[in-house]
Symmetry: C2
Subunit: 152 residues, 2 copies
């Protein structure tokens, strides 16, 4: 798999940001994700659904993975997420062999992406000001909900 | 949290085994799980639903976690599973601070439970002959489905 440059990765971030903003508008936790195939086809997209569905198992990455349906292989796929993936979502990436993760930002929350890099996953870490601002404002205004979502 | 002995852990395995057997009867992957509260209350139980719901995100542990609904904290909870948890489900346990994992068997599949132990999760590994036989037979008869479920 060829390494993805920052400009390409920024282009891929759009669908995940749309999901995050839609979640925020619904009163949910504003984290969005999208799973792309090796050829750049969008396989599935989703957002955190803890509030909307009362479902703690639907983190954004899990929701995008679920929306993509059953796939025989995840070789060469790219998970794009607005925020550094937590251990749950990092475990998903490692177990299913998703080859690359594009991350909107990791300054408001630092999940398992270093661990993924150690295990051969290509990490493209953006430092997207829009993603940072959205999360920073959300955490500031909803600390209890945010802590619930990350098990703290 | 007091350490759980093997006899107690065997007692907790029953609901997870029931889930696994129900999954097998439905034509699904026979892995079951149950999440217990600190006082031994059953919070949720579930089984792998890849085949039944065409849902790759519902591994047994994730399904039990989902069935338990939103919880403010997982401190002192115990996840019981018929099979060593994969990275996805191990990540779930670590992220949400589930304190203990009871595992039916880890001989047909060795997931992330050593990693969990390194990070302070109490692991009670049983070597349940019924669990081993159920998984061994399933994997032997359904290798493609099993490989799909673990991303291989």
């Amino acid at each position: 798999m060829q390494r993805m440059d920052q400009a390409q990765a920024r282009g891929r971030l759009a669908a995940a940001v749309e999901e995050a903003r839609a979640g925020l508008a619904e009163g949910g936790i504003p984290i969005g994700a999208a799973l792309y195939g090796p050829d750049g086809t969008l396989l599935g997209r989703g957002r955190n659904r803890r509030v909307q569905d009362d479902d703690p198992s639907m983190h954004a990455e899990t929701a995008a993975f679920r929306a993509a349906g059953r796939q025989r292989s995840y070789r060469g796929t790219t998970m794009v997420t607005t925020l550094s993936p937590c251990w749950y979502c990092s475990g998903l990436v490692r177990q299913f062999g998703i080859g690359r993760v594009v991350i909107g930002e990791a300054s408001t929350f630092h999940g398992g992406h270093d661990w993924l890099a150690e295990h051969g996953v290509e990490i493209v870490l953006l430092d997207d000001p829009g993603c940072v601002e959205m999360m920073r404002d959300f955490v500031k205004n909803n600390p209890a909900l945010w802590n619930e979502d990350i098990g703290e």
